[in-house]
């Protein structure tokens, strides 16, 4: 199966943007793409024939009621569904032109390019320093000054540096919920992924901590492609450039956020965003 015949541009021909301000202007390249993806747990289809293209250096939100498959869909992009008993995945998922589920694709290598932040913050019971250093150490970075530099860079990027710089060697278990979540974002950033997947990153946080995470997301998109799952519609409207509405495992509508929220093309989308169901 040739890619060209699908009529989908996976960006294979376009060189990666190096230098300058990537993606801020010019045509959008597709960074991640799902092509006719169906995911089944046993006999139940959690995702039904979804095709979707995530543009580079944009924030793409996945919304929908609980159980609509949005989290399952998100986890396709870094293969976090692997190893679930009884799961079967059909269709293809691409990172640029590389097939994520190809036989020779290494999930470990993939996850170094596609980072992830979870709903519950999960700092390891180690120091703040060691938490951020973890991804670097397992990737084989030995140079101490390089590690220190990347840790500072990531913590600054995650807006946590000023709060923790004087207690880097204290346990990360002493951080507040919002700080812990930003630590997890910094930890994901430290290995310099291209993409950060976020699975309801603010749903366990108070409004102030949530606002900080949302600001952070907006500031990160110049450097990363972000895909965020959220059940908070206002949040999707505030932070994202594109929004995909999932319902019962199907992709109902995928459009620029502004358009989807102001002028939904599907009646089910309209019913959901106006609160008539879900």
């Amino acid at each position: 199966m040739s890619l060209a015949t699908n009529g989908i541009d996976f960006g294979a021909a376009v060189p990666r943007a190096e230098g300058g301000e990537p993606g801020a202007r010019g045509p959008e390249r597709t960074h991640l793409a799902a092509q006719g993806v169906t995911v089944r747990y046993g006999r139940n289809a959690a995702i039904k024939g979804v095709s979707l293209k995530v543009p580079e250096h944009r924030v793409t939100a996945l919304i929908g009621p609980s159980g609509c498959g949005k989290s399952t869909f998100l986890r396709l992009f870094n293969r976090m569904n692997d190893g679930i008993e009884g799961i079967s995945i059909e269709g293809r998922v691409f990172l640029y032109d590389q097939d994520i589920y190809a036989r020779d694709t290494d999930a470990v290598a993939l996850r170094r390019r596609v980072g992830m932040v979870f709903q519950r913050s999960t700092p390891f019971p180690k120091s703040i320093y060691e938490n951020v250093a973890y991804g670097l150490r397992i990737a084989g970075v030995r140079d101490r000054s390089e590690i220190a530099r990347r840790i500072e860079e990531s913590l600054v990027g995650a807006g946590l540096w000023d709060e923790v710089k004087d207690r880097m060697h204290d346990s990360a278990m002493g951080l507040s919920g919002g700080q812990a979540q930003r630590l997890c974002i910094a930890r994901a950033m430290a290995i310099r992924p291209e993409i950060i997947l976020m699975d309801e990153p603010a749903s366990a946080l108070d409004p102030i901590a949530t606002a900080r995470i949302e600001d952070l997301i907006s500031s990160l998109k110049s450097r990363y492609t972000i895909v965020i799952v959220t059940h908070n519609l206002q949040q999707a409207a505030r932070v994202s450039d594109y929004t995909a509405f999932f319902y019962m495992g199907e992709l109902v509508e995928f459009a620029p956020t502004q358009a989807l929220f102001t002028n939904p093309g599907e009646s089910r989308t309209e019913e959901y965003i106006t609160g008539r169901f879900g």
Binding site: R111, G115, M116, T122, P125, Y134, G135, S171, G174, I191
Partner: protein, 311 residues
């Protein structure tokens, strides 16, 4: 304000039958009985053994047909035994538990078979372990080694510390496996997922995230195994324990004296039971103190490490 009379509602002062009082009383009596038994055992041993327990008793060898002297060779032999046992049982038990909990598919036949084997191993009477040790380690493995290496000279094909320790390791293996699995189960799956999502392999996740958090539980299992190993006698009867040895064991194929076995010897094999009775009590007291200290160490270690991790 007075409550309005409401005859339709059931009274809150429900009638309590005699059963409601008898059952808790019985339960309390049972609980007390357990405490009383422990108290009686400790009291008798304490009173009987305290007098003879001295520094000299702990540091000298038995004399005069075991009617005088101390139990140092037995303490030394017991320690030697549990040391070799620990070296054998911890790696085997921990890796088995890691495989069972982190790698094996829970529902697979293979996994269930291994789990069933572990649980059954825990239920095998200890004397059967002793016979197995004699047949397998001493005669089969040891005898085989002699055949190949020493031209049939009995070097390893006889009871010794190594075989006794390996037999004891088999006996305590379920303790270590179960404790380790428990410790692994207590590590949140979120941590495993977070580690994998950062590009760690399964092995890196186990070694760097899961195991460090499981260490307190593993150590607890190890110390429980040690205290069990220090107290069991049956597995070492045929595999290495000696009635009386003039010298301390220096090699792993030497026989050794053991505190538990020494208690048995003093109680039943002594030419003059009356004369050895105080020594017997003191030996039991020392053995109890040793196992109690080991258990206490396990508890303290666990508390300390938990605090260090959660800090």
């Amino acid at each position: 304000m007075s409550a309005p009379p409401s005859p339709a509602l059931p009274s809150l002062a429900a009638p309590r039958g005699a059963r409601d009082r008898v059952v808790p009383a019985l339960a309390a009596a049972c609980a007390f009985l357990i405490v009383a038994m422990l108290g009686i055992i400790l009291g008798m041993v304490g009173i009987g053994g305290w007098e003879r327990l001295s520094w000299e008793f702990l540091t000298t060898a038995p004399r005069n047909g075991m009617s005088e002297g101390g139990i140092f060779p037995a303490i030394f032999g017991t320690s030697f035994l549990v040391l070799v046992m620990t070296v054998a049982v911890i790696p085997l038990g921990v890796t088995t538990a890691i495989w069972l909990h982190e790698y094996a598919r829970p529902g697979a036949l293979r996994t269930r078979a291994i789990r069933l084997a572990v649980h059954n191993l825990a239920g095998v009477p200890s004397i059967v372990f002793g016979l197995f040790g004699l047949g397998f380690f001493v005669h089969f493995v040891g005898g085989g080694l002699d055949e190949f290496l020493y031209g049939g000279q009995p070097v390893y094909g006889k009871p010794g510390i190594l075989w006794a320790a390996l037999t004891m390791a088999l006996l305590t293996l379920p303790v270590v496996i179960v404790a380790t699995e428990e410790a692994l189960r207590a590590v949140p799956d979120d941590h495993r997922r977070a580690s994998l999502a950062l590009g760690a392999t399964r092995l890196q996740t186990v070694l760097r995230v899961v195991l460090p958090q499981a260490v307190p539980g593993i150590l607890t299992g190890g110390i429980l195994a040690v205290s069990r190993g220090a107290g069991e006698v049956a597995p070492i009867l045929f595999t290495g324990a000696a009635y009386y040895l003039p010298r301390l064991p220096t090699r792993v194929n030497d026989q050794f004296m053991h505190m538990g076995y020494h208690v048995y010897v003093l109680a039943t094999q002594s030419p003059d039971v009356e004369k050895t009775r105080p020594l017997l009590f003191a030996t039991v007291l020392a053995l109890l103190a040793l196992t109690f200290l080991l258990n206490l160490a396990a508890v303290l270690l666990r508390v300390r490490l938990r605090r260090a991790i959660r800090r």
